[in-house]
Every structure is written in C-alpha cells, then in structure tokens.
Symmetry: none
Subunit: 225 residues, 2 copies
C-alpha cells in the first residue's frame, strides 16, 4: 500500500537522513550506495520514485538515469536528482535533464518532500476519477462543486469531503470511525456523533436527493448503489 522510494546516494549520513524523513512520511525505503547497486535495485523492485545523487562512485547519476530510460520496464520510474551545491544554474539545469525534477544540495527536507509529492502526484493524476455521479448528484473533486438535479449546491469544506468519501464508496457502508479518519483526519479527537450532525447538514442541503444517503443503524452511513 505504501509507496516505495529508492535512495541512491553514496554518503551514509545523507541516506540515513533521507530514510528517516521518508519513513516518517509513510514511505517505504530502499537504499543503494552506488550507481550499479541502485540500478540493480531499481530493476528488481520497480520503486515508485528514485532519489538519485549525481556524484556517485562508478556509475554516476546521469548514467544511471540513461540506463533506466533505455529499458521499458524501468523507463517510467520518476527520478528526482540530487545535485551538488555550488554549481552554475545552467549546469544544474543540464544535470536535471535526465530526470523529472531535481533538488540542489544542501536541500531543506521540507522542500524535498514537497517535490517528491509533486512528482508522485503526476503519476496518479490519470487514475483519479474526474467526476463522481450517482442519483442525480454530480460531484467534481477538481472543481470542488456539487450539483443536485442541475442545481449547484453550496457545501462547506467538511460537507464536501464527507459527501465525496461516501460517493467514492457508494454501495458500501462507511462507519463513523472510517469517516472520521478520512474526512476529519487521524488526529481528530472528537466524538463520533459529530459525523451525525454533518450528515444531517448534508442531507438538508441535498434536498430531495437526501434519500440516497441512508443510515445503517448500528454501523454507519451509506449511499445507495
């Protein structure tokens, strides 16, 4: 379930720093200390993303990148290059060209994580369903709009996320716990009945379409198949 990231970096302390932060963000991590090993692991595990240092003993980052691209199984693996500091902007640009993005050392962890997420997001873009539609309700996640029988509904952010989650699981029951975790986030420490209140508010705005949002007594809520 968790996404896998391959670190190819010769300096052990940087590897460790990266591993620590990536795992804290929920990624699983592979490590390689040189280009050859990185290439081998990439082919074996087909990670979701590679962090690739440019300056490596033996095969350098650019060469690894080139060889990855030459193989069809590995050519789709997004690569984020780590480039040494102090280089000319032009040079950095050049070095980044075999990759999807690059970060200049020393980098801030925050920035690196942002870039990793950005690169990963590009991959899943296509799989995201653009429109959720059921029983005359049309929800556009991208636009953050909802229509019921052609009328646009003005939902609050929470209501919207709630409806989105229910729609994504249309046909199956969602428990209050599941909804709290997904809509409110794991750090929410409130009462489960908060869900009830928001379901009520949502129903009020749904009008006639509210009948599709049913209560499953003792379990949770569900949108009809």
């Amino acid at each position: 379930m968790s996404q896998q990231i391959l670190i190819v970096e010769d300096e052990a302390d940087i590897r460790e720093l990266l591993r620590f932060n990536l795992e804290r963000e929920g990624f699983s991590v592979l490590e390689a200390a040189d280009g050859n090993e990185g290439l081998k692991l990439a082919r074996q595990h087909l990670p979701d993303l590679m962090l690739l240092d440019v300056m490596l003993p033996g095969l350098d980052g650019f060469e690894v990148c080139r060889r990855l691209g030459a193989q069809s199984e590995t050519s789709h693996i997004p690569v984020l290059m780590l480039t040494a500091k102090g280089e000319e902007m032009d040079r950095v640009v050049g070095l980044s060209l075999g990759a999807d993005d690059y970060v200049v050392k020393p980098f801030s962890v925050r920035e690196l994580m942002l870039r990793i997420r950005a690169v990963l997001r590009r991959g899943v873009r296509s799989s995201e369903s653009p429109v959720l539609e059921r029983h005359g309700i049309r929800l556009r996640p991208e636009a953050h709009t909802v229509e019921a029988q052609g009328e646009e509904l003005l939902l609050t952010a929470t209501e919207f996320r709630l409806l989105e989650d229910l729609l994504r699981h249309a046909g199956s029951v969602r428990t209050r716990e599941q909804l709290l975790n997904k809509v409110w986030g794991y750090s929410f420490e409130g009462y489960a009945r908060t869900v009830d209140t928001h379901v009520r508010r949502l129903r009020a705005k749904l009008g006639d379409a509210a009948s599709m949002l049913e209560t499953v007594r003792g379990v949770g809520y569900r949108i009809k198949e």
Copy 2:
C-alpha cells in the same frame, strides 16, 4: 520521419543533455555552440523547432531570433527561448522579437518537453499563440500582457504568474499550497496567507472582472469555468 530540433547553447554539458533527452523522445537533433552557427544551421536545415539560449557568445538569442524573422525561409521556425531567472525583463523583448514561448531556468525536463510539444503542435509560428481567455480577461503568456475588457492591466511578476496559474486551471480549485508551489516555488518557506494578499491585489487590479476569481472557503481559489 522524425522531427528535427536545433539546439543553440554555448555550454557543452547542457547541449549534450538536451540532446540526450530529445533523442530519447524521438527527435533528431542539431547542435550549435553560438549564435552565428545557430543561424547558419537554421538556414541550412530549416529545423522544426529551435531551442535558443538567451546568453550566447557573439550573437545573442534575441539577435538570432530577430534575424531569423527577417528571412522568409526561416521566419516560420518556432523558437523556444531558454531564459535564466534574472532575465525577466529581456524576456519581453525576446518575445516581441518573435519567440513562440519561453522556459525560465531552472525548469524540469517534463516541463520543457511539454512546452516543446505544445509549440510543435501549434505548428506555424505565431499563427496561433496560446492565449488564456476567460470572462473578458485575456492573458498572453508569450507577450506577458493582460487585458481586462480591452484595458491593459499592469500586473507585477507575481500577480501575473498567479493569474496565469489560476487561468490555466480555470474551473478547478487551486489550494494555497498548490499556488505557493507553482507561483512561489518549492523553496518558498513563507506563510500561506501570502497568497491571500496577492489574490487581493490581483482582484483590485482586475476591477469588475474580479468576480470571476472566487474564494472556495476552506480550500483555496478558483476561476469560474
């Protein structure tokens, strides 16, 4: 028959790496290390597109661009300018001289390839520049100008990029984080409410057209579909 791209760039590293990526994408590549040679090759081979660095020894990118435009055989060749970050002002000049698009360094490979394909798809130079138009607002990325109801608006660089990003995603909500990453860059470590301030300034300049830039409470901002 693969399309031919001419790279005019003085740094050998960058040339090589551009060549590598372009050939990987199926283009055939010509190289020139300075403006004069670039001009010569352009006249000889009439490539499908030119990647033209601004900073060149001898004849600079603008001059190359201008001389190309003066000849009927070469005037149709699409030009994609490579500009360094500090060359914002020059950009306007270059584009007015006939470049079809520009890419500001540093850029990611992905972005460069997308732009190359966009320019090639557009076909004949200047025949159909990408103009972002919505609700009486017309933004010309290449010319770096914005009009609202026929009146030209004088936007700052940040305001322009902000509006450009919002327009490119018209109909979709953009979160503050997305806007910060895109408009301010990943290395920006400031406060998300900075976005609000710039939205406000943008709205002030948009005048009546400001109503198309709506706030999506709890999420971000969106330009109406």
